[in-house]
Symmetry: C2
Subunit: 204 residues, 2 copies
Amino acid sequence: MTSQAADGPDMVAASRRSKITPEREREFFDAVLEQIRECGYDSVTMDGVAASTRCSKSTLYRQWKTKPQFVAAALRANRRVRFVGIDNGSLAEDLREVARAAGDWSRKDTKLLQALGHAVHSDAELAQALREALVEPEIAALQDILRRGVERGEVAEGHPALDYVPAMMFGVLRVRPVLTGEYADADYLVRFVEAVALPALGLT
Amino acid sequence: MTSQAADGPDMVAASRRSKITPEREREFFDAVLEQIRECGYDSVTMDGVAASTRCSKSTLYRQWKTKPQFVAAALRANRRVRFVGIDNGSLAEDLREVARAAGDWSRKDTKLLQALGHAVHSDAELAQALREALVEPEIAALQDILRRGVERGEVAEGHPALDYVPAMMFGVLRVRPVLTGEYADADYLVRFVEAVALPALGLT
DNA sequence: CTGTACCGATACGGCCGAGTACCGGTACAG
DNA sequence: CTGTACCGGTACTCGGCCGTATCGGTACAG
């Protein structure tokens, strides 16, 4: 974002300026996200990340100017497409598979969302990175699945429950630890889909 | 909880030891909870609470030993029974009224739950106070409403959706700000009840 | 072989918040 | 009227973390 736009013949030299390999960078990102999950955003320190990755605080500050920028970069690097390739030809089976897939990483993502939920009020860049990394890809993928169900005629277009499927899936996912202390696992989510989501959509 | 158990004739004098009236105490509690909602738990300072209530930090530390104990006391004082008196003789109408009632204070309670969600990992007393103040009363009241519906025969006992009603109500309530940036209002929640909760329970 | 520039380590300045100590004012008891 | 004890205000210590500066080591270029 700073000087990577150099188009001259020194671009190779410019990319050689940092000896941080992409693998090393991912170690930094994994470390800071893990510490956020464990202790919360405010309790995470740059010293702690440096110590746990055996690098120097200087190294971190050479790459990223401030702590929120560093965390935002870690979130953006963590962004990935969810629910990819879920297309079984049946909305009910697609939703069950979403539930199974969500159960796998629900613990990590829920912790992150919980820990950063209030930090985003103080840094707009952090807020946008969080949305792009953890919220929008999942919503979009879920809406794709629902749209295909509508196109196949399984659910009538404009069905009132359609608008609430993302909210109730992520709502149940996120609120489970608060209610019972346990994180939502795949089994719990699949049963939720069968007991609530499918009946609400008019699918048996 | 400390010396209020004195049974001697000096109990009047003992209760007179503190010149903090219950109304004054509630000002402290309201101030700290409001600041937590605005800035998060870690950003709230005892100096800030003292300044906003025009009292001295000494006064706060004379009554409560540490910051988490002070916050826990504020939460316990804020505990109240929710959904009280909701009993219309119809489960559908009861749930609609729950949605309307929840929309009124969802903003304040959701902010509190969000702000304290990660602070509870570092203080067990705080965690229990939060559960007793904001989670358990609402769950219990909701289950009472559901139980009456079962007793009236509106829903079969053991209906699979029954277990998920509290989770999906609070889930949708809490996750709305994350998804759209807006807090859930009464209208949104009532439509959710009609589009999802009632069909899932087999009520029209 | 020599220079360059990045890395890791350490130390430091500045700031801020938790919790403590002290002091004058004042309400209430007797 | 006099004493007691609590309240509010201020100043203080202590510790922690952000961000910066500095220095020796080392990998790579030419």
